[in-house]
Each structure stands twice: as structure tokens, then as C-alpha cells.
Symmetry: C2
Subunit: 347 residues, 2 copies
Amino acid sequence: MRATVIHGPNDIRIEDVPDPRIQHPTDAVVRVINACICGSDLWAYRGVASRVPGQRIGHEFLGIVEETGSEVTGLVPGDFVVAPFVWSDGTCDYCRAGLQTSCPHGGFWGEVGSDGGQGEAVRVPYADGTLVRLPKDAATDTKLLPGLLALSDVMSTGHHAAVSARVRAGSTVAVVGDGAVGLCGVLAARRLGADRIIMLGRHRTRTDIARTFGATDVVAERGQAAIDTVKELTGGQGAHAVLEAVGTEESMRTAISVTRDGGAVGYVGVPHGGSSGVDISQMFDRNVALAGGVAPARAYIPELLTDLLAGVIDPSPVFDRTVDLDGVPDGYRAMDDRSALKVRITF
Amino acid sequence: MRATVIHGPNDIRIEDVPDPRIQHPTDAVVRVINACICGSDLWAYRGVASRVPGQRIGHEFLGIVEETGSEVTGLVPGDFVVAPFVWSDGTCDYCRAGLQTSCPHGGFWGEVGSDGGQGEAVRVPYADGTLVRLPKDAATDTKLLPGLLALSDVMSTGHHAAVSARVRAGSTVAVVGDGAVGLCGVLAARRLGADRIIMLGRHRTRTDIARTFGATDVVAERGQAAIDTVKELTGGQGAHAVLEAVGTEESMRTAISVTRDGGAVGYVGVPHGGSSGVDISQMFDRNVALAGGVAPARAYIPELLTDLLAGVIDPSPVFDRTVDLDGVPDGYRAMDDRSALKVRITF
């Protein structure tokens, strides 16, 4: 089969790789019908996160179960499924508590020895614990596919930020970062009943999507100017709940600064280095909490799926370009130079 | 009247100062009957936190209302009261939300221009919002006085750590720090239904108190050895809820390290400098949350008082020495050299 492989910074190739096959009785093989490129894949693409040359890449996909191991009981060939961006056994303490990202048997698609999502097929470990079944007719519903694909990461991650920031009915929310996760955070905050949603972002096409997702205000400034504007918009107090969807020192500093005393920052931007802008002294006096981390998408997909199928949420506008497998290297370039927000791959 | 005054590092004096008088119609004057020395007073005593020479000090006291301003409606002379360690107006958004420490009209006893708690009398701003009335007969109940005094700070702060760390029925809890706040954190965790409480501390007399407060395990090691032991005690997973009651880089690093994935650190140790041991990368992968800060004691006193009067909690063992006003400088020395855990001052 053919799959996306990363050989080094700016070196993404489509190559012939071995067909996946069942290795353990709990495995399934899934034929991919939709995948996508994530903002976090760009850290590898840019060389900030290191990869072994020849490593697979991609961690978001929809597909059809092709084969199942002898111990897989909840899936049969032909099932249409979505994969969360980590696999998990579904049975351990953490999985049962809804924190599948801490499953001791879990792993990330594309890590050494595993298949990546940006390929024609994927061997899925612990298929029963990992995959979520979708309605079969949705597999050919081209309008629904992008939204379903978003469940694998960005929509679930945006939701995790909102839950971690304690968004509730009537909250004033600020979202730092106008990437796909930040935009999905807007959608999640609106779904949880936020009254006011302030998007901090300066890319007009993205903040326009934020408005259609429920943002009531857009702040295009950065740094102290952004902080001042959010304070001004909130009667000097800041937002009850702040979603940090970038992961840089500056974005974290901004997020903490615009949080109302007693409020919380829900952080899902993959942190790059050390304390990343966390000033505990500033948090202490104001009782600002910090929660979040890598999103247990597997725990959230069922409830988000229900609302997606009911038309309550539609994250599909975060995809603004579609490529086939051969177009993936172009897709990376487009996301890297910000000419694309998020690229969907069809097979 | 006479009051404690700080002139510089290691320079605590008892001096004659002007008698407090009503300055605003919302003020009350309280005649102090019990006060105490706080671990956080030692930061000033040691010169780590700067003070203006001649500044008052002390922020925990019980007393009798002597005089009230014309707008005070909830208190009359003769009322027995406890003061939380900050004053607050009782009417603003933050006070109504139970975060009185963020009251825009609030302040700390002993800050420049205010009376400190370690003196014969105190002018109390916003008396209705600040003071909590106690049963009158308790004022002469020498057995009850130390526990009531603990409500002003250490018991409420320990409770804040426990609430912030999300202690609930069945939780496994770790408490970093065997000072008076950490010990009260043990008491608070037990009150909230913790199943197992691991005290990290190496002072035998203090960890013995922890055991009587409900600690099921004591870990005397520090640093990596302490982390390893807590992991061992918890099947490799760590504690659901960790109370950080020290405020140093090492204690915060330990607290985060012994937190179970998906758990929370409730931090109430006054942080000293920068990010103070917060490694966001380590928190991200494991979904460790960080919450807490300066405790809104005013919000907690009523519920804690109910349980204290009912005998459910008794924090009084945290006081292991009693001095009169002239003995206060000795009390500081004793707490500084750790020969005393917490010093009560009687008038």
C-alpha cells in the first residue's frame, strides 16, 4: 500500500510500504477513506519535533474495517469507524475513567513501529477499545465526512479545552489561537452554553469562521494590546474560561492574563519547552487554574458524534482544502505557509 | 495600644501605636483576644518578602467587637468574631461568587496603612463583609479558641488546597508539606472523604499530628526518593489529589510528579519566584491540573465553623506554643528555628 512518510524537516514523501496485517488478536485493519493533516504534524515538518527518517505520520482518519483479529468482538468487516488520535485498550483504569490518553497500552499513530493515519490502511491495536463505530450510510455522505473526521482530533481537542476551562452556561470565554483547534474550541464553548466568546486571532478568514462558529468578538491584537482589549471587553475582569490552543510562551502568558480571577485556562496547545509562559505568582493571587493537556478524544467522540449527527455542531468549515494522497506534500506546504487552514485527504 | 511591628529582617518589636478608631462608616474596631504567627509571616521575618520598616504584621485573629461604624448592620459591640486573613466588602461580584480575596476593596491585615492582627486591637474595614460572628460563649471556651483561631487562615487554606485538588469521597490524596497548612490540609481531605492520605514530611512531631488528623501514610524522603515512594504506595499511579502547601520549586515539582494522570494539584503555598517548578510539558501528557492560590477563607469559614463546633474537625493541635504579646518576638524565633510549629498569642 501507499502511505505518507517523513524523512526530515520539509521532507514529506508518499511511498510504498508493507500492507498492514493483523499482528495481535485485538487488532483490526482499517481501509482509510478520509484523513487529514494536523497543526501538530507541522512541528515534525518544521523539524521542531524530531522524527526518525522514514517514520509514518498522520493521526486522524476515518475508514472501513477490513479485517479483525480473533478477539475483536465489537467490530466486523465493513463497519465504518473513526479513530481517535491515540489508541487505547479500553479496559484499564484510565480508559474506564475516560482518560484513554494515559492508557498504559496506548500509543500515537505514526510512532515508530505503528502505521500513520495518512496512508491507505492502518493496523489498529486494541480495535474494540480504540475505534468508534459510525452510521454506515455516513461513509458515502460527502457533506458529513469532514465533520466526522474532525472528531478524531480537532473537535475533541477543542472540546477538551472548553471542558478543562470549565465553560458553562453563561460563561464569558476567550479563545487564544485561530487554528483549527481554537475554532473547534469556539464551537465547543457555544455548545456548552457560553454567553460570550472572544476569539483572539488575526487571520481574517479564520476569525470569520470563528464568527460563524459562535464567536461574539474578535481581537486581532497580540501580546499586551490583546490583553488590554479583552479586559476592556469584559469590564476589566477578563474571561471566566480561557482556551489556550497554541502552546507557545506568549500564548500561555496571554491566556493566563486574560483569565478572570477564579477562572481557568484550558490548555491544549502542545507546549514547546519548560514552563511555557506559566507565571505561578500571577496565578496565585488571582486563583487562576490551569487544566487540560492531551485530549482523551476517545472519551468525547460519542457525545460529540450525537450532536454532530443532529446538526448541533458542524466543524467541517475548518477544512479548506482537499487533496488526494499524492497531494499530501503540497498539503503540508500549504499549511506551513498558512495558505490552508486544515487539509483533508481523500482516498 | 500595643502591637507587633516589623522593622526589618529578624527585627520584630512590640510597640505603642495609635489606638484604632472608626474611619469609615463600614468599619468596626475589634479588641483582639487571640492571634497567631503564620508561616507566611516568616517570609517577612527572614527578609524574603520586603516590608516597610515599622509596618504592622499578623493576619489571623479572634476578638470582640468594641465599636461599629454607622453603616455596619450585622454586628454590634460585644459580638465575638473571627477575621479571615483578608478583608473584603461582601457585596462585589467576587465576594458574592465566594472569591473574597479578589475583592477590589479588599486588603491584607498589616499592609501599609492598616492594623496587623498581632496587636491589642484592629480597625476592620467593611466589617459586615469581613467578620464572621461566633457563638458568644465560645469566647471563654479555652478548648475551642485555638480551633476557631485556625479558621482565620490555616484551616481555611488547607481546605482550599483540598477543594482545589478536587478531593472527594474515595480519593487518594498526597500532602506536600508538614507545616500547619499541610496538616490542616490532611484534616480537610479527611473531612471531604479521602480514603487514603499520604503526608510528605520529615518532622516527626508534625507527621505524628498528621496521623491523628487522618494521614494513613507518612513519607519522610524528599525529592526523587519521595516521588518514588508515593508512586510505590499507589500502585505506580500517584495520588488523585495533591495538596501543595510549601511554595518552593522543589515542593511544586514533587507535587506535580506524584499526581496521578488526570489528577490535580491544589496549591496554596505562597510561591516564591517565577514558574516555581511548574513543568507544563510534564503536566500536558498526563492531564495534570493546577488550581488554588490565596484561599478565600471568608467563603469557607461558615461551613468549617459548623463542623468545628460539632467536633467533626479540630485543628487546634497545630498550635504547640502560646505566648503573650511580649512573647511574640520569641514566638517568631521559635517558628523560624522550627522549635515551634505554630504560635498562638493570647491577650
